[in-house]
């Protein structure tokens, strides 16, 4: 039987699960851990280390430990936010072909998908050890607002790890699926996904087996990492003041402060104040230093207030985009580690007028949803797989123990969930005069197809370049260019006489395919767009986005 994993490939932590007839089973790491750090280390002793062991190398060899790779995967290295994020990592990233970021470790050049594939491979191996069978298929989750390039790069990472990526699904949708599967609910839910590096919020309508996303938005550069950094800056200032050493140029020292900040942050989620010392600081003068700190939850909340307010602002916008008011929402699901911060939950309660659901595990629910989707795609789901349906199954298993006879687990087929996800951004094409014509709106259901007919702008034009872009702006230049499709050998005619049919299709993975047909000659040009920052197919192309039609 085909086994398909559900994988939550996170910025800081990853999680994998598989749907079984009795529920969702988590893939455990070598030490029995359910949550696997998304950290890849290339230690001096050779080899590649992934997971909790790799995390330990962050102190001894900070330049050779790759963390938060998800922040760079499929990104254009020239994007301002990426440049900003580069200041937060201690390993070396350079610009590669097609403007994609390349990690340089011990003279090895690796693309971001290669780094992520190590994490996926680790999960795959853990799963194979646990299940005793080959695992070749997977459903991987991505933040809802991931772009085309980021999605393609994530698929590429799966391929490099030897996995057939059956589907990319959005993290908030996966969480809603885990929450709603097998319960036949009729309600509107909001999923607030605030993870290590990304933030998403989605509004869904649950209608039996249908999970319809009404609106979704977020920020793929906002997460727990940023909160850690804010706190680490505070610690750095303290370090400078008390120990008279500016830690910022010292990678190992700063990394230690970041790790300290993360621990303080987690402590403050449970406690009102954190007081103590960070010891074992390797000072530049060779001595070991210790930094005392005393931070109250209140201080921390003020420090991160800007970030939290931003997430709440996006949440309000998404509710409006779904055509609803907060009162319509009957359940708020919290996903991602950063939602453990009390002030985040408090602000959510203020918006929705109800406390968020705390019964789901924010670290694991996404991979549970992915596993259910994987089970659905391989058609191996049954009624016992859903969360909370375990009790029913436990009874039958219980009977077996009492020897009443070989009681089969209920093998009745569950209704397969149907995910109606949305595309995260408005897509359009450049037209004469520097305008952008919208073809597919943000938040339209996927898969979706839209066809528009365009004409030539000049007489005797035999070649047309179709520039595709992403963004809401009427001006083409102010949107993000995606790539260019070229249609050649068009019959020379007066302007406006040639009809070119442009078909935009966003597939179920959220990846755009563009097709252009010259209606007269029926000449068909289909192209898979080469997106800037995505792993390039031939490596040589440097897709220019500025050409005129």
């Amino acid at each position: 039987m085909a086994v398909a994993l559900g994988i939550d490939l996170g910025t800081t932590n990853s999680c994998a699960a598989i749907a079984t007839p009795t529920g969702v089973e988590f893939i455990l790491g070598p030490r029995g851990e359910r949550v696997h750090p998304s950290v890849v280390a290339f230690p001096g002793s050779g080899g590649v280390v992934v997971g909790p062991d790799a995390k330990r190398y962050r102190l001894t060899e900070p330049h050779h430990v790759i963390h938060s790779a998800k922040r760079f995967i499929g990104q254009n290295i020239r994007a301002p936010l990426v440049q900003l994020a580069l200041t937060g990592v201690r390993y070396k990233i350079v610009e590669g072909p097609n403007q994609q970021p390349i990690v340089v470790v011990r003279d090895r050049r690796m693309t971001m998908p290669e780094i992520s594939s190590h994490v996926l491979l680790h999960l795959k191996r853990c799963a194979e050890r646990q299940l005793g069978t080959h695992v070749q298929q997977a459903v991987i989750t991505v933040p809802a607002n991931f772009t085309d390039g980021q999605r393609q790069a994530t698929k590429e990472a799966g391929r490099l790890a030897g996995l057939e990526v059956m589907r990319l699904i959005n993290e908030p949708t996966a969480a809603a699926l885990a929450y709603g599967f097998g319960h036949d609910r009729q309600q509107l839910v909001a999923v607030f996904d605030f993870g290590g590096g990304t933030f998403d919020v989605s509004i869904l309508r649950l209608n039996g087996e249908i999970f319809e996303v009404l609106a979704s938005d977020g920020d793929f550069f906002l997460g727990g990492d940023d909160l850690d950094r804010a706190l680490a800056e505070l610690l750095a200032a303290e370090c400078n003041r008390i120990l008279r050493v500016d830690p910022r140029p010292h990678a190992a020292l700063m990394m230690k402060l970041m790790m300290g900040a993360e621990a303080i942050k987690c402590h403050l989620s449970e406690n009102e104040a954190a007081e103590g010392e960070i010891d074992g600081l390797d000072m530049p003068n060779g001595q070991a230093g210790r930094l005392p700190f005393s931070i109250t939850r209140r201080q921390f909340e003020d420090l991160i207030n800007g970030y939290v307010m931003r997430t709440m602002e996006v949440t309000r916008q998404v509710i409006v985009a779904a055509g609803l008011t907060p009162q319509h929402i009957s359940e708020v699901l919290c996903v991602g580690g950063s939602t453990r911060i009390p002030v985040v939950r408090q602000r959510l309660t203020e918006i929705f007028g109800r406390p968020p659901n705390t019964r789901i595990n924010p670290d694991e629910v996404v991979s549970q949803g992915a596993a259910i989707q994987a089970g659905s795609l391989t058609n191996t789901l049954n009624a016992g797989t859903g969360m909370g349906a375990r009790d029913a199954v436990a009874t039958s298993a219980h009977t077996t123990l009492h020897g009443v006879g070989a009681v089969q687990l209920q093998q009745q087929q569950a209704k397969r969930p149907i995910l109606l996800d949305v595309n995260p951004a408005t897509l359009g094409i450049g037209t004469a005069g520097g305008f952008s014509e919208r073809l597919l709106d943000k938040n339209s259901p996927i898969p979706i197809e839209k066809i528009r007919v365009f004409t030539t702008a000049r007489d005797n034009q035999t070649r047309v370049e179709i520039d595709c872009c992403r963004g809401e702006n009427r001006r083409y230049d102010e949107n993000e260019p995606l790539g260019t499709l070229v249609l050649e050998d068009i019959a020379a005619k007066a302007r406006g006489e040639v009809k070119i049919e442009v078909c935009f299709r966003v597939d179920s993975d959220g990846i755009l395919h563009v097709r252009a047909i010259d209606q007269a000659s029926q000449q068909r040009q289909e192209a898979h767009l080469q997106v800037l920052g995505a792993p390039s197919v031939d490596g040589a192309e440097d897709g220019g986005g500025g050409g005129e039609l």
Binding site: R167, I319, V320, G323, I418, L419, P445, P447, I448
Partner: protein, 179 residues
């Protein structure tokens, strides 16, 4: 829906020439968003490509996917109309006088954040950083450093009355002890 019916439906949808959204959803022209949603959910339950990926040939699956994607596009047209009513004609600002532009969707006014108690709430976070340092300096009796840090806090948040008062007080203190 049997497989034959599915293929027949998909063929019908894909080959419809110049279709209107309601024709793709196979509902009445005057239908509203609720009807469109019900129709779309019905299509999704029967024809979502995920449900058929193991039972159809690649060619048939592409046909069904294409038909489904077209219906999804039609449903989006209904949603667009209902959620964000906007004029069909392109607006040229001021060209034909003011036109009846529908008001933007109501945005919930963010409730005023509760005023934080204590000194911390009365300045922004950057100012607070400097203020904390000043507090530490004061504890060690380094008045001059504290003045400097409070000045930085004041520069970071010129609006904060609290910082200004604190600065004035410490400067007075410094004048007393230094003079």
């Amino acid at each position: 829906m049997t497989q034959d019916e599915l293929i027949e439906w998909a063929t019908r949808i894909v080959h419809r020439a110049d279709p209107q959204p309601h024709q793709l959803l196979e509902i009445k022209a005057e239908s509203g968003l609720d009807d469109a949603q019900a129709a779309f959910h019905k299509v999704a339950r029967q024809a979502h490509p995920d449900l058929h990926r193991n039972s159809l040939s690649a060619e048939q699956l592409e046909l069904v996917t294409s038909a489904y994607a077209k219906v999804a596009g039609a449903y989006q047209d209904f949603r667009q109309l209902a959620l964000a009513p906007r004029p069909k004609v392109i607006e040229v600002k001021g060209a034909y006088g003011t036109r009846n532009v529908p008001p933007p969707p109501p945005v919930e006014e963010p409730e005023a954040a509760p005023q934080a108690g204590g000194p911390v709430g009365q300045m922004n976070s950057k100012a607070m950083l400097h203020y904390r340092k000043a507090e530490m300096s004061l504890r060690r009796g380094e008045l001059k450093t504290a003045v400097l840090q409070l000045k930085m806090a004041s520069a970071a948040d010129p609006q904060s009355k609290f910082v200004r008062i604190a600065l004035a007080e410490v400067m007075a203190e410094l004048a007393k002890s230094g003079g």
